[in-house]
Symmetry: C2
Subunit: 233 residues, 2 copies
Amino acid sequence: MQVNPIQLFDAESSTYTYILAAPGDPGAAIIDPVDRHWQRDLAHIERLGLRLTHVLETHAHADHVTSAGRLRALTGARACVPSGCGIPPAEVQLEDGDRIAFGAGEEIAVIHTPGHTAGSMCYLWRGNLFSGDTLLVDGCGRTDFQGGSASALYDSITRKLFTLDEATRVWPGHDYKGQSVTTIGWEKHHNARLAGRSREDFVALMGALNLPPPKLIDIAVPANRQLGLPHGM
Amino acid sequence: MQVNPIQLFDAESSTYTYILAAPGDPGAAIIDPVDRHWQRDLAHIERLGLRLTHVLETHAHADHVTSAGRLRALTGARACVPSGCGIPPAEVQLEDGDRIAFGAGEEIAVIHTPGHTAGSMCYLWRGNLFSGDTLLVDGCGRTDFQGGSASALYDSITRKLFTLDEATRVWPGHDYKGQSVTTIGWEKHHNARLAGRSREDFVALMGALNLPPPKLIDIAVPANRQLGLPHGM
Ligand SMILES: [Fe+2]
Ligand SMILES: [Fe+2]
């Protein structure tokens, strides 16, 4: 049965962090936690009576630093990261098709979705897709660094994500307009960058974006490859 | 079974808006929608495949203007407000103990919790308390205008809210620190303003806050008494 996650926001980088827990089950996982909010996030875990067992990253972020290493050190949670993101301190190096078990029978399915970065993964749990920077609300992640590829992103979204059940709720890694959640069906039919667009058109569109590099990229990517801590703790 | 709502945020007034819908049921209610976000909120309703049938206000807000009247006009939803808040255009004037039915068998219980304002109500749905400005995460609403009363707030929180199941999730009307949700149990045992404090202490504490009046109070309260629209539409 579909159960919404707890959605938390970092206003500086417009990043969403998610806490996953099933009703009546204290086992919890967190996705894409942000460094400066580690106390806030642990406070949520505590207030809700949860026990954190897994910390997941969708990719090695370029715009903020993760608190995964710190949360792992403080809770004993296992750090789970895409194998292709170059994050050696994480004990679980995920491959496409893997499943992460947590709580009393909960399961997260791992979907490799290269494009925003070569290693990016999405996570599927109880009808919820945690789409990182692959698919955003009426948008998608950029494809111009860290092995990004507009062509690969097009395939990941149209062949892997848009073939999920249309009612699947999509919880993005970022949003800049206060939008919280969308669905596969809506994005398939209405996403401004993807709906009705050929791969060729999409690649041209992404190639013409000409975005400035993320301000933090030279700090954030190396830090995130160590789970946000010196030497990965 | 506990089902999390969709939580939406207004960064200008730090107001949370909630969309309530049960899994697999298109019927939806919205609580405390904010004027400038009516398009965003309707977009969420649409993307999630929901149909809005009820718009609820926890009180006549002093810090932002509601979009209740506009959402009602655009969707045909019923406007449900506390009877003691002086909002005549709303067709449903709620009393303590009322129940609002929506969707296929969903029910919202109405709890009158005077203190932040004389008319303030909290709403309880599937193990979730929507606490307006009555109970906040590790805090509570101010009590110095609109018939506010620290003594009444103390009784509302300690006698009505703290007697709910401790696992009840509490979704506040505002938060200024990125905190999203708490529980009755945590607040009962740890809330900095209330835990272990006598009514007398609490009244003295609230009386000494000396907060400036909300900037928008002279605009927002009259507007909210008309559901945010000229003449309440
Ligand atoms: Fe990213
Ligand atoms: Fe208020």
